[in-house]
């Protein structure tokens, strides 16, 4: 069975919610819609305070080519335009909408009927995806339409669907495949048409045999779509790792997947594409896994963007007394939240509540130079060295040692026997070196 070749780890799976069907979460009383839910320029607001909006109505327009539209996930009155703390812990521009009833914009088709046919041209498909504000839903939140518009001279030869879900605990993509398989297959065919490729591969890790079997069954009449089971291996859901696992090609340092002719889209993104293209539905809700060892009713929920995390935890049985940390995302790459008011964004794949005992890091001791971080690094870097260089602020040497290749997967810190905060220091180094490189280009 295939996988990527350098480094990687095998964290405990902890997929507590793999068997839990997706449940619709009730609408929040107030939705808090962040204006920066994607990589790139923030969206520009097109509504004013006091305006009444419908579900699916445009709230903010993309602020550039690499940016994304934002639509109202609920219907109601705009109570405030201000700032809300997001998953990063910083206050960011946001629209506060007091929810009334659920009144949808007329053009959105709300039936469950499967729409198989898509007669749009590739350009029209990409335009529709851009219009719907779809971003990469695996967590990176890169605008999907940008990836579907290869730069001049670059040609895509393979579409890779990321259904790896290698993060422990998370099951949102897994459940989506089991419950919305036919829609996903149509979404893949729409993306293939948009890109003009004649081959697509769905990469799924072997711990989801039911999803592998179902997707195989659903694609049986489409010989151009292959379902590829992959070994369990974190961080296989990383774009570069997945491309290597599927195609054997390593994207060069600093290059994009399209430079080796590949485009990767998350399976959640594919479903959003189906809804946008076939049902005119913008990206206003997503599947979120709410999980944790001490939660009473962990599960998978269909949640409107802008719902406070507190509502999700309430739906999963409330915050346990021994809760120590709330994480947006998975335990390897997720962000620890400063509070439960943080709203769900387009990239929120999970909410993980950790016990107090799990939340505390063990004290770090001196590096014993065992080299296990090197063995674990999927990018072939030397975390012990990068961390020490960042600690000592040797920026030029950090750049030479490829700090910018770090994908922040956390394998090094996970592995370190001395409990050193390797990735913490490397993030500092990466931010600083990144700023230096940008200032040099100016």
């Amino acid at each position: 069975m295939k996988t990527f070749t350098i480094g990687g780890i095998h964290p405990p799976e902890s997929k507590l919610t793999a068997g839990k069907s997706i449940v619709d979460l009730p609408l929040p009383k107030q939705a808090v819609v962040l204006l920066g839910q994607h990589i790139g320029a923030p969206a520009q607001l097109v509504v004013e305070r006091g305006a009444v909006v419908k579900t699916g109505q445009l709230l903010a327009k993309a602020g550039g080519f690499v940016s994304a539209n934002i639509h109202s996930p609920v219907s109601g009155k705009i109570a405030k335009i201000g700032e809300a703390v997001d998953a990063s812990g910083y206050p960011k521009p946001a629209v506060f909408i007091d929810v009334t009833e659920d009144d949808w914009a007329e053009e959105i088709v709300r039936t469950e009927k499967l729409e198989r046919e898509c007669r749009l041209t590739p350009e029209e498909i990409v335009a529709k995806i851009a219009e719907a504000g779809i971003v990469g839903m695996g967590g990176a939140c890169f605008p999907a339409s940008v990836k579907l518009t290869p730069p001049p001279g670059k040609k895509c030869d393979l579409l890779i669907i990321n259904a790896v879900e290698c993060e422990p605990y998370l099951t949102a993509d897994h459940r989506l495949m089991l419950e919305k398989g036919p829609e996903i297959v149509i979404g893949i065919r729409i993306l293939m048409k948009a890109l003009g490729v004649d081959r697509a591969v769905i990469g799924i890790e072997e711990n989801k045999p039911d999803a592998i079997e179902l997707m195989r069954h659903l694609t049986i009449s489409y010989p151009t779509i292959e379902v590829l089971p992959l070994q369990m291996h974190y961080p296989q859901g990383g774009e570069k790792q997945l491309i290597e696992a599927v195609s054997g090609r390593q994207v060069p340092s600093g290059a994009l997947p399209i430079d080796v002719g590949k485009v990767v889209q998350n399976v959640g993104t594919v479903y959003a594409v189906y809804e946008a293209v076939q049902k005119n539905k913008p990206l206003i809700e997503r599947i979120v896994t709410v999980t944790g060892k001490s939660l009473k009713h962990p599960g998978n929920f269909r949640v409107r963007i802008g719902t406070p995390i507190a509502d999700l935890i309430e739906a999963a049985g409330g915050l346990p007394d021994n809760a120590g940390k709330i994480i947006s995302g998975g335990p390897m790459m997720g962000k620890a939240l400063v509070g439960m008011d943080v709203p769900v964004a387009k990239g929120t794949s999970g909410v993980l509540v950790m016990d107090e005992a799990e939340s505390v890091r063990k004290p770090a001791v001196d590096c014993i130079r065992c080299g296990k971080c090197i063995g674990a690094c999927p990018m072939g870097l030397e975390p012990y060295l990068l961390s020490a260089l960042a600690e000592r602020q040797v920026w030029d040497r950090l750049e030479k040692e490829h700090i910018m290749d770090c994908i922040e997967c956390g394998c090094c810190t996970f592995t370190c026997p001395a409990n050193r905060p390797l990735l913490d220091y490397m993030r500092v180094g990466k931010a600083k070196v990144g700023a230096i490189i940008r200032s040099r280009k100016k």
Binding site: M332, V360, G371, I374, G375, L423
Partner: protein, 323 residues
């Protein structure tokens, strides 16, 4: 919400490995060899080991408590491991006060003066051993016979030459057989006698991913190839490669001393360069130097080169070269 939350950067889970777990795995891997040497040399072997470990632990405690004035690090197991490895490099009849001096040099000079575990340049146990070898050449090279040798010879002699001593003297005909060397039926330091018991320990370390194969295999293969070339060139003067592999401290050195995390290179490619260096130096010292055994010196020399190896030997980076 009143509840205070922990906020930290990802990852939020840890693989639960620890420095102490790694150290105790190495200690456990040395137990089979310890049992063989206790059988071969009797209780004195156990006594030497106990004195060595106890002195290393006591010295580390005293130094952290009174000189460095910081919390002691005894629970990480590294002092016990240094004591055990030092004992494995000593003959079983060594007077107790020499062992204590060796422990002081290993812990005090080679380890703590650099800042403790993780910061030392040279393998502490080897520094201790070499210090003793140079300071007390007489005591350090008088090897008691094993229980099996005494039973076989029927003489009253209690000490004898090691296989490497015989090679140095050119007495190839008196060398023990390969099977004797494998099972520990030869003279030598505590941990040198039983290649097989050491190999069992190494397999355990490899299976538990405590060490990787790169260092031991590159050393053993290099010694074998280099010794074979010399032997083919002049069989009268140079011992055969199998004898090289199974005698002296090579197995102990290659598997347990050279693989010391702190003093060996970080990247796999560097570890192979390091292993080849140790292999070549070992055979050179054994064949052309004035000492019969060269593993300790070879490892210490390569310890010194390790920072340079780390500078040039990098892991294979992800990504094809850009066109």
């Amino acid at each position: 919400m009143d509840k205070k939350l922990y906020v930290s950067m990802s990852p939020h889970i840890h693989g639960d490995d620890s420095v102490a777990k790694n150290m105790y795995r190495v200690i456990l891997a040395l137990v089979p060899a310890l049992l063989v040497s206790v059988y071969a040399f009797g209780w004195p072997a156990l006594l030497v080991t106990a004195i060595s470990i106890a002195s290393c632990v006591v010295f580390e405690y005293l130094i952290t408590r009174f000189l460095m004035k910081r919390p002691n690090t005894l629970t990480d197991g590294s002092a016990v491991l240094t004591g055990l490895l030092l004992a494995f490099n000593l003959p079983s009849n060594l007077p107790w006060w020499i062992i204590v001096i060796g422990a002081l040099v290993a812990i005090g000079m080679a380890k703590m003066s650099f800042g403790g575990l993780g910061n030392n340049i040279f393998n502490p146990a080897l520094v201790g051993r070499v210090f003793l070898l140079i300071s007390f050449p007489q005591q350090m090279t008088t090897w008691p016979l094993t229980r099996m040798q005494i039973a076989a010879s029927g003489t009253d002699a209690l000490t004898g030459a090691t296989p490497l001593g015989l090679i140095k003297a050119g007495q190839f005909d008196q060398l023990p057989s390969a099977i004797d060397m494998l099972l520990g039926n030869t003279g030598g330091s505590l941990g040198e006698v039983a290649a097989l018991a050491l190999l069992i320990g190494v397999v355990y370390l490899l299976v538990t991913k405590t060490i990787t194969w790169h260092i031991p295999v590159s050393i053993l293969v290099t010694v074998f190839i280099f010794a074979a070339c010399l032997h083919l060139g002049n069989p009268e003067r140079f011992a055969d490669p199998l004898t090289h592999l199974l005698t002296g401290g090579l197995m102990l050195g290659a598997c347990f001393m050279a693989t010391d995390y702190v003093t060996s290179p970080m990247a796999k490619s560097g570890q192979i360069v390091y292993g080849i260096g140790i292999g070549v130096l070992t055979v050179l010292i054994r064949s052309f130097g004035s000492y019969p055994e060269g593993v300790s010196f070879a490892i210490l020399i390569m310890n010194a080169v390790t920072p340079i190896i780390n500078l040039y030997c990098k892991p294979k980076r992800f990504g094809e070269p850009r066109k």
